[in-house]
């Protein structure tokens, strides 16, 4: 650890991992409900399990991003964080608000939750991923503002690097676009139109900047390649991500009441969205191959390379599969979408968070550049178990999706939705079993933090200079 205030990242990372475990548990419940419809009913109905699964994902990724920012910005700016105290206060505010919201989902019927939290005054609830009560949304904005202030002041008073500027741009974009969560027009077309400004422009826009910046930071530290080289790549990747991603929003605008030109715009621009992810893969492997030092944290290198590959597969390839409007005409809202969603979120955003956690945690916990050898071996086992099971989850869902599209939409005599759901049940079972393997990987991951081994490599002055 180079700066004392970087320590505030630690609770953020711990909370992120805790919520990640919760997300996967609800994923397992949800996966089982696909085939055993009344599992845990009426305690946890399907819609609630789904809401908790997706909301926990978003919240823990945000915890991870904030932790990453608190960790890497002081190091990039070469100065202490503006206010570590504010960071800790915001941590507890965010955690308590998040926990209360999830408890609200689980304990109170959604309609009552809406009433209790005064949704009538400013109705924003009831939309996928944005189910949070309006007061929670307001809380998120307050936390985001405080966070941006803290990070912004730190960047301003210290060294301004491309990495921290790209990260800051991404974080500001994240906060600004979230404001559209408060815009809830009566007109359903407009509602969806702006809803995507949060959802799409987050994951296929500004989050890619955050992802790129964190990946660049870790690669600079791990490989020792010249900052200028890595920054140049970051620029190009970010530019391509924005060019293709912003207009690429159009791939959500097919047949929902928006003008027809979106079919062209969406198809053309989003067909190119794999390019920045492909560049990221080339970039990551290139940098690791040209490394000028052997960093002791092998696990972090594995997570970083895994991010680049899996993001390209999940976001790039699986996104491209159904992004062209003539294809999407058939696949819209099918299990193909679910397949893409799982691998893209895992490959891009889960893995980048685990990358920075893997890199930062040894510094934060032991003031050492890497965890002990046994812990790293366990971490790498966790990587492979989770990644391979995610590949299979994606393949099973893709198979279910193809079957679904065929039986329900493309066949001469299309079958009703629920009949088709029964016919693809085998794939849902396979997905659920693979999900259990994923959970085993996650347990190993958590366990890796508690493995005692031979002494950690201490962070000497010399080692610190080498990583600077």
């Amino acid at each position: 650890m180079h700066f004392k205030s970087q320590a505030v990242a630690k609770p953020y990372f711990i909370a992120a991992i805790g919520l990640f475990v919760g997300q996967i548990l609800f994923g397992l419940i949800l996966g089982l409900q696909y085939v055993v419809g009344d599992f845990l009913f009426p305690a946890i109905p399907f819609n609630v399990a789904r809401m908790v699964h997706t909301n926990l994902l978003i919240v823990w990724l945000l915890f991870g991003f904030m932790g990453a920012a608190y960790y890497l910005v002081p190091e990039e700016a070469e100065t202490e964080l503006h206010s570590p105290k504010l960071a800790l206060v915001l941590f507890w505010v965010f955690l308590v608000a998040g926990a209360l919201t999830i408890l609200g989902y689980l304990l109170v019927p959604y309609a009552s939750l809406a009433k209790m939290t005064g949704n009538d005054l400013l109705p924003t609830m009831g939309r996928e991923f944005l189910e949070q009560p309006t007061i929670t949304k307001a809380g998120i904005v307050i936390v985001a503002l405080g966070f941006l202030y803290n990070i912004g002041m730190t960047v301003l008073k210290g060294r301004k690097t491309v990495v921290s500027l790209v990260l800051l741009t991404g974080l500001v974009g994240l906060a600004v676009l979230f404001l559209f969560a408060f815009y809830n027009p009566i007109n359903l077309v407009k509602d969806k139109y702006y809803w995507w400004w949060v959802v799409h422009l987050w994951v296929e826009g500004v989050w890619e900047l955050i992802l790129g910046a964190i990946l660049a930071f870790v690669l600079i530290r791990i490989t020792g390649v010249d900052r200028e080289v890595i920054e140049k790549w970051l620029y190009v990747i970010v530019a391509m991500a924005l060019i293709t991603g912003i207009v690429g929003t159009g791939h959500h605008y097919y047949w929902i009441g928006t003008p027809e030109y979106w079919q062209w715009w969406g198809s053309i621009f989003s067909a190119l969205e794999p390019i920045p992810f492909f560049m990221m893969t080339v970039f990551a492997f290139n940098m690791v191959n040209r490394r000028r030092r052997e960093h002791p944290n092998k696990a972090a290198t594995l997570w970083a390379l895994g991010t680049a590959v899996m993001a390209f597969l999940g976001a790039g390839v699986w996104g491209f599969l159904h992004t062209l409007s003539p294809v999407n005409y058939y696949t819209h809202g099918s299990q193909i979408t679910a397949a893409h969603g799982h691998m893209a979120f895992y490959g891009a955003y889960v893995l980048i968070n685990l990358t920075i956690i893997s890199y930062a945690m040894p510094h934060l916990r032991h003031n050492a550049p890497a965890a002990n050898g046994r812990a790293q071996v366990l971490e790498m086992w966790a990587f492979w178990l989770m990644t391979i099971s995610m590949v299979f989850i994606t393949l099973f869902l893709t198979a279910a999706g193809i079957l679904q599209v065929w039986l329900q939409r493309a066949a001469e005599t299309p079958l009703p939705y629920m009949v088709v759901q029964d016919k693809v049940a085998l794939f849902y079972w396979l997905r659920e079993i693979t999900g259990l393997v994923f959970f085993v990987g996650l347990v190993l991951y958590v366990a890796s933090f508690f493995v005692k081994g031979k002494a950690h490599v201490p962070e000497t002055k010399a080692a610190r200079a080498a990583t600077a």
Binding site: P259, W264, I268
Partner: protein, 194 residues
């Protein structure tokens, strides 16, 4: 020094920063895809495209082609000037190129204005959807190119480049030539071929 000389003989590196070339190639891909989408959409709707194309201001398109080509040429002269260590001259050539970029923008805006005044929008028909999208997307690239050139001009004025060190001029120039290159295809495809 001999190493550099040898490299010149056997094939130099790309002019300008390598990163701009990655970017240029990606941009060419976007435009290429757009062109192909236009061409194949047209093949399914030839009458509509031919009829709508007659209403375009071909003269404005041709003038703008000449303007961009000439502007590109000025940038080539700017690079040649800085290679001979004439920083002032280089800045002037870049300035002239920006001026012509401005002429392009004005003519293009007049064209857009005429179309909007005639009540034409993106939803009028497939031809106009493409015409407006393609030309507007290109228009944005002209503006970006002008911003990049302006930055180079200011730096050249301050004496930031010389014969040995002028990657920035070449980088901006390469991007500007790409904007020109794409317009050449766009002009033929959208304004002329029928």
């Amino acid at each position: 020094m001999s190493v550099t000389a040898e490299r010149v003989e056997h094939g130099r590196a790309l002019p300008g920063d390598f990163a701009i070339w990655v970017f240029i190639l990606a941009e060419l891909l976007v435009f290429g895809l757009f062109f192909l989408a236009y061409a194949f959409a047209r093949s399914r709707n030839v009458e509509l495209f031919n009829a709508s194309q007659l209403l375009l201001d071909r003269q404005a398109g041709a003038v703008n082609t000449v303007v961009l080509i000439t502007s590109s040429y000025f940038v080539v002269r700017a690079v040649a000037a800085i290679k001979e260590n004439h920083a002032r001259l280089c800045a002037n050539w870049v300035g002239a190129a920006i001026g012509l970029g401005g002429v392009f923008v004005v003519i293009k805006l007049a064209e857009f204005h005429a179309k909007f005044a005639a009540g034409i929008t993106l939803s009028t028909n497939t031809f106009y959807m493409f015409y407006l999208s393609l030309t507007f997307f290109h228009f944005m690239h002209v503006l970006l190119g002008m911003v990049i050139l302006a930055a180079v001009m200011l730096k050249a004025r301050r004496g930031g480049y010389d014969a040995a060190n002028h990657t920035g001029v070449e980088t901006a120039g390469s991007y500007w030539h790409m904007v020109d290159l794409v317009w050449l295809i766009l002009f033929a495809l959208v304004y002329v071929i029928r």
